[in-house]
Symmetry: C2
């Protein structure tokens, strides 16, 4: 199956429109000054479930045939993808099964369950969750929806960039954070098709820089021991996302941990928007590489806003 | 001088338009569910200086004659009005002098100075700040711009409700927080003129309920010992705001401290908007008085978003 093209992203946009928000684009003069560029923030933190993930999940769930859909969908993500899949399934009126380790924070358990998912707990190991997911699929016939290594997911995530470029077709640069690469892949496909000369950048925590190393090596290097506050970006590139990034992305900028926390706090204070650490990564990367985009018009996909307000990184970082 | 009328608010809107944001109106399904009403949030937290105060301050500064303006403006303020006056003065190219207690949050001190004001610190008492302000005026000839007991300020603050009602003329209710009453006065004048049948409510911390008691008594009762996290609402009604509220406001709802903190946190988590405690007061009051607006379409003026991120009330409230 070939990689998605712009037509797939437009089709995804049409499919998900009734179910997700068209998020606003924010600007902030002090952020422009801080980064030395004209910044447009695509506010996926204001999206349903608080993250862009609802775009891909909704596209995937709405793409299923009726018989397949009736057996439900399944994932082993306790984070934003798990919540998004749960809501997308509820919207279609089908079951969502979410496998998660029993030691996941209560707030995540509650969020996934709150969207109506059937939660199955497992031991906190990669092997245990994969076995639990396989057993669940054998029992129910549910379709596993991968968080990013899925063309329907990639096409759905690309709708955020589609909207941003519809409103601001003259961007010089577009930048998105990279974990497994679903958001950046969709962003890159949409941006390259709509704006052939646009520069497409990624941003990644220096403490989880598998995408930077993978692109340099020419093959996927797993994210072995991620050390970053940006917990949404600890994934490894997938077999579908890696070649898309390799084709379209100019480079992936690293962001240090202190810069991520500083950027997150700067955005909170100046824009009054709550963003999660992963969403601060592109801001931090631009702050640390100021010459990359100096004076340019830069679109940033602010990926999400789900934060544990009891454990803010500028409070806990010195633990 | 008679109280402002709609024409004065329209004139203020024309005057300040080049200098302030037309703020967006947010909705949030889970907030609607939580409050049992259809809620429209007028996001003055996204306004310049992070609060509605820039509206009144800009209107006042732009209303001065050239000679008067050249001598500068002055105020005593615990924060948002001081920042707003500083920015409004800088925009016009005149000096702003700000007297403030030395114990205000560091983030507010830095912001006032950052907008170019000349800051003079005083002891945290009403008498100390009034003496410091009088001395400053004697030295400089600056014009004192009161934070709320000033018709130019009241007319400027009314422009937020003007914008909200232009976009949503079918509101059943409009509600704003009350400290000195400038925002609620301007809101009431605009709303009553544009929508004769609208219900106009205020909201006030139960721990600083001087406006509730003043309206009940028929005369101004000072806010003697305010005990509230909503530090923007510790003022006493003024001679100009009291009669306006008395004429137009149906009632002022109280909000308890725990409810204010809970409402603030709910708005942060669900809307991803940073609001300050004062802005959470109308949300908290509606939560505590659920029958007041059940099922109605309610506009809330979210007054501001300036928060010290090192001292969030759900962390410090148990001190």
């Amino acid at each position: 199956m070939p990689a998605p093209v712009l037509a797939d992203i437009r089709e995804a946009a049409r499919r998900i429109r009734p179910h997700v928000h068209r998020t606003p684009v924010f600007t902030c003069a002090s952020l422009d000054h801080w980064l030395g560029a004209r910044i447009l923030l695509k506010c996926e933190n204001l999206q349903k479930v608080g993250a862009f993930k609802i775009r891909g999940a909704t596209n995937a769930v709405c793409s299923l045939g009726d018989d397949e859909a009736a057996r439900g969908v399944a994932t082993h993500s306790s984070g934003n993808h798990g919540q998004a899949l749960a809501l997308a399934a509820r919207t279609r009126g089908i079951p969502a099964h979410v496998v998660m380790p029993h030691d996941v924070p209560a707030v995540k358990k509650a969020a996934v369950a709150g969207y109506g998912a059937r939660v199955r707990y497992c031991e906190p190991s990669v092997r245990a969750r994969e076995e639990a997911l396989a057993a669940l699929v054998a029992e129910t016939g549910a379709t596993v929806i991968h968080p990013y290594n899925d063309h329907r997911i990639i096409a759905g995530q690309g709708t955020a960039a589609l909207e941003l470029l519809e409103e601001h077709p003259d961007l010089d640069v577009i930048i998105a954070p990279v974990g497994g690469g679903g958001l950046l892949s969709g962003t890159a496909i949409a941006a390259r098709a709509l704006s052939p000369d646009i520069r497409i950048l990624g941003a990644e925590p220096a403490g989880a820089d598998d995408a930077i190393r993978s692109l340099a090596a020419g093959h996927i290097i797993p994210c072995a021991q991620p050390r970053t506050v940006a917990d949404g970006l600890r994934g490894t590139l997938g077999s579908l996302t890696f070649p898309i990034l390799r084709e379209h992305v100019e480079c992936i900028l690293p962001a240090g941990e202190a810069a991520i926390v500083e950027a997150m706090r700067f955005v909170w204070e100046r824009t009054k928007l709550i963003i999660e650490p992963s969403a601060a990564v592109p801001v931090a990367a631009l702050r640390e590489s100021p010459r990359t985009c100096a004076g340019l018009k830069v679109g940033i996909i602010l990926s999400g806003g789900n934060v544990d307000l009891d454990h803010l990184p500028w409070v806990t970082e010195t633990r």
